[in-house]
Amino acid sequence: MFDVQKPETAVDQTAIKIAARNVQVFYGNTQAIKDVDVDIQDKTVTSFIGPSGCGKSTFLRCLNRMNDTIDSCRVEGEILLDGQDIYAPRVDPVQLRARVGMVFQKPNPFPKSIYDNVAYGPRIHGMARTKDEIDEVVEKSLRRAALWDEVKDRLDTPGTGLSGGQQQRLCIARAVATRPEVLLMDEPCSALDPIATAQVEELIDELKQRFSVVIVTHSMQQAARVSQKTAFFHLGNLVEYGDTNTIFTNPQDHRTESYITGRIG
């Protein structure tokens, strides 16, 4: 059932980019995440899997403080990015989110031109000031998102006019344009057809050359295909975390085993 690829692991990928210690998340009085400890390595694809409502998306949104935008949400514990607590008072979530980019489940391009969509981040952060600089960032980001060849002649057309897969790659281009160190992806392929999914997966593999990528996915095949590390969440707990092939071939916890063999979820 699982054709697990053996990921080629390079030596320098073991550096820890994000370390979460004892993370708890509450929505009002209900606890969504309990005691999660996890180390996310640099230049690696880490996937979060688990049944619906297990808290994997919630945890992902903690990593760039997107949960701040929800009134009733409260996060406890420590999340360290390069050894610095991102929930420390002096950290500005705005700056953090530029360093930890995010791609959402449903493609959400702004109702602006393709060019403006990609240039949005660099412009507001003042990373590129002249027209040439911005042109360069836009081209580089679109190339990285493997979209350049398809849209280079119509950069002025609205981003909402692209197909679903193209829109999602545009959103990836928009996220990588701010040169983030970590890229969070919340089920990026769930709204895409198989061909577009394959393109995005290929892209993720490329992206891990430069960033640490964290991807939430429903599809165990996808996790097996793209990631080197896998974390299994169940009912708000991180049940098991380890190398993807270990998790899929030799899970330690019986819940993990039940999930990947299709008995729960």
Binding site: M66, N108, F110, A175
Partner: protein, 458 residues
Amino acid sequence: MTLLAFVILLAAVVIGYVMNLRAARAIRDGGTRMHSLEGFHGGYAALMTLVPTFFLIIVWLLFQDTVITAIVKAGLPAGVLGGKGTGEVQLIMSEIRSIAGGRIFGTPEDWKLEAAEHLVALRELSGWLLVAVTAALASAMMYISRRTVAAEFRARQGVERILHGLMVSCAVVAIFVTIGIVASLLFETIRFFQMVPFWDFVLGTNWEPQIPIREDQVAAEGAFGMLPVFLGTLVIAFIAMFIATPIGLLSAVYLHEFASRRVRGVVKPVLEVLAGVPTVVYGFFAILVIAPAIRSFGDNFGLPIAPNTALAAGSVMGIMLIPFISSFADDALGAVPRSLRDGSLAVGATQAETISKVLFPAAIPGIVGGILLAVSRAIGETMIVVMAAGLIAKMTINPLDSVTTVTVQIVTLLIGDTAFDSPKTLAAFALGMVLFLMTLCINILALRIVRKYREIYD
């Protein structure tokens, strides 16, 4: 008399219901299987009797006075109305009516007393006729519906057809209202243009509708150029929008993006209260507080300020429109999908940047629609300007001067006794036509924009 007619109607409805119910029961008890339940047979009779008879009574009541007055007028001795204007004839008729009602002032002429007696007699006759006709129609309908009772008669469908027809006519009333508006305005406007040339009205820059009523009166000739009135309307509407748009939009932005749930819970009802205050109250507020404040401000700085400044009326109208614009903008911002907001925040935009660069541009069509509707309200708003703006039409755009508006002119021209043959009265209808067309165009445009916009995100 009218009461008696209604009692007869009610009785007929009840009797018809019971009769049909009993008849249907009798058939069922005879062992025949009925298509419809007995209740529907009863209901069928009740509705068949109620609907036509009720309409007859209403139509009768609506028109009896008009008809009686016409008959009395025709019965007046020859010559007494000769050479009199509509206003005087109306006065005579209302005098006759009040004599008939038992209120006699002074010693009226004999022919007036006779006419009053005639009127009383006709009213009595009409009352009895109404009772007779009601009874006749009600029993006829009862009879017709009683004959329908049969095992295979589809009484339920009959009832549903009648109800369906009633509902359709309710919906059609809405169309009749529009037709009524257009017809009444059009009719009187055409009569107006028979007295005053069309282009004098549309392009004239002089508005002095006070024309002599009696021959010997010294007064202006009467000029009906709508441009200064129109300009005044625009000046006041512009001041109002100038105040309401920024305040309304900014408060919507704050409420939508920055306010905590608690603040929202307080501010929203406050804005709703502001929106629910009747305009006559705002008008009084303008003359009680705002106008004196502006005047004393002007006195301090030596500015020449008219007693009824456009600024006072316009700014109070602006206050009135704040909640209107704010709630429209809040809805429009709320209609932008959350994912766009998330997308912008996720690349590290601040809330202010998200609002101004992503949400606001995306919500622009909805906001523009709301602003257009607010403009149409400002143009059509009446009480604030009637109380706080001026009466004299001036070609000026100085907000510290006194200007008049279309609605002010309509109200002042029509308050008091009105005769439907003077250009002064008819001018109000012509202005009403202008107002109606103007607001209609803006409304259609605004509603179209808003609807298009909703379709994008639904």
